[in-house]
Symmetry: C2
Subunit: 255 residues, 2 copies
């Protein structure tokens, strides 16, 4: 059965998509059948994996509304063991269209249950909000991986995120665990980074990934070539960090 | 009458709040009566200006639902000519609660019309999405200032943002103009930054602010002291850049 990991944080620009894309690619090169679900209308995860958005006809939006089967919509990537359930801006409409539908929070969960036997890992990239799309991802997941930028505004939002996770655990998905907090865009020369890192490790203990993702320009260049960092520049500190994150997950240290 | 500027971009973490806080502070020190409206449930603009969130009872949420008057909810800041209409996480609920209300997109506009005679500038910080809260801000504004991080994913979203602005201009607010595109977190040593900057200037011409905001650690440190950069470290490149942005707006070069 697949392990289902939601990559969530309502704070914008903290590295959710970069983590989803590079973690999924790292698991795939370890020959684990992996599916990346893009639940963000920006569809950055699709372009980060080189999917031509103009060639996409149906997306997770059509699957959520019951118009298409997920298996018909899933597309391949340049990496053998990695597939993507794509999104596009239609997904903006899903929030409003699902408002008065039965079980609106559990739609993705039912879809994922139907896919779980075909994959070993399912990674879900979330948009920067705590709205219905993110709640759907948390309802479908076994664990949530929280990318955390070591900055003041990003720290501020952590309490709210934890509260939302607790609410989902109580009301919708009791098996949801906090898989881990991943420090991203880390720059050791920056005071705030070191302060935040200390505070987080004190508060969350071994829930914090040992691997820290450094600020590394290769991670921001790779998407413009439609590649994860391990294809763009395997020797870069960014690519190596995400291989380390995948290793920690494969060894069962998290979640 | 006040000039109303929405700071919008659905891409997360591009410097919307940093721009809203530091621009509003720069206008206030030029002795322009300025109001900052925080339309983001994360309420980062409030903490960036040192507002104690635990002491806030009513927010823009209560004003949007018609429960409170804006003038009763607006609070002072450490800067004489700067006030804030605060937000908090209640605002997450506004999206759903306003769905079936009359004129749901124009609620903020009506509130702002009632305030316009008391201020010279009204700055609206938006959340990282194109949902009802951002549409309300675009409906209320005379111009939209788009902070743009010079990175691939941020560039990808620009087309969608321009489309949404055009839609709002056609359907809801014909007077809305694109006030300008502001390059943020700029690092001249980074290839992508230079490529993006060239592309944007070719495409948008003099709509692009002459001032470019560099990546500057003082901008990310200042919020942890509840201060805009010009109070935290007036000599920093970050504080100086935002004084330059304010200057361009005061001289009428934008919008
Ligand atoms: N470790 C890193 N080093 C350098 N750049 C990074 C790193 N991680 C992410 N980036 C870049 O920072 C920007 C923000 O990252 P990303 O888009 O992955 O965040 P996000 O949380 O998915 O954003 P959103 O909230 O909009 O979904 C992107 O341009 C990305 O390329
Ligand atoms: N020019 C800059 N140099 C260095 N750090 C910056 C700069 N501008 C913003 N930051 C930092 O980058 C992070 C993202 O900026 P900010 O929160 O203002 O973006 P945002 O677009 O408002 O994010 P969101 O989409 O979550 O609302 C913050 O931690 C901020 O302190
Ligand atoms: Mg993303
Ligand atoms: Mg913000």
């Amino acid at each position: 059965m697949a392990r289902i990991i939601a990559i969530a944080n309502q704070k914008g620009g903290v590295g959710k998509t970069t983590t989803a894309v590079n973690l999924a690619a790292s698991l795939a090169v370890a020959e684990k059948r992996t599916l990346l679900i893009d639940m963000d209308p920006q569809a950055n995860a699709c372009s980060g994996l080189g999917i031509d958005k103009t060639s996409i006809i149906s997306t997770v939006y059509n699957v959520l509304l019951g118009e298409e089967k997920a298996s018909e919509v899933i597309c391949a990537t340049d990496i053998e063991w990695l597939s993507v359930l794509p999104s596009n801006t239609d997904l903006i409409g899903a929030e409003i269209e699902l408002i008065d539908k039965e079980g609106r929070e559990q739609r993705l969960r039912r879809i994922v249950e139907g896919l779980a036997s075909s994959y070993e890992y399912i990674i879900i990239d979330c948009p920067p909000s705590l709205s219905l799309l993110t709640v759907n991802a948390l309802a479908a997941a076994d664990q949530v991986l929280v990318p955390l930028q070591c900055e003041f505004y990003a720290m501020e939002g952590l309490g709210q995120l934890m509260q939302t996770i607790r609410l989902v655990q109580q009301e919708i998905n009791p098996r949801l665990k906090i898989g881990g907090i991943l420090l991203t865009m880390f720059d050791g020369r920056n005071n705030i980074c070191n302060q935040v890192s200390e505070e987080i490790r004190t508060h969350f203990g071994d829930k914090v990934f040992t691997t820290v993702v450094p600020r590394n320009v290769r991670l921001s260049e790779a998407p413009s070539y439609g590649q994860p960092a391990l294809l763009y520049d395997i020797g870069s500190r960014g690519a190596q960090a995400y291989l380390g994150v995948a290793q920690e997950i494969l060894e069962g240290q998290h979640g």
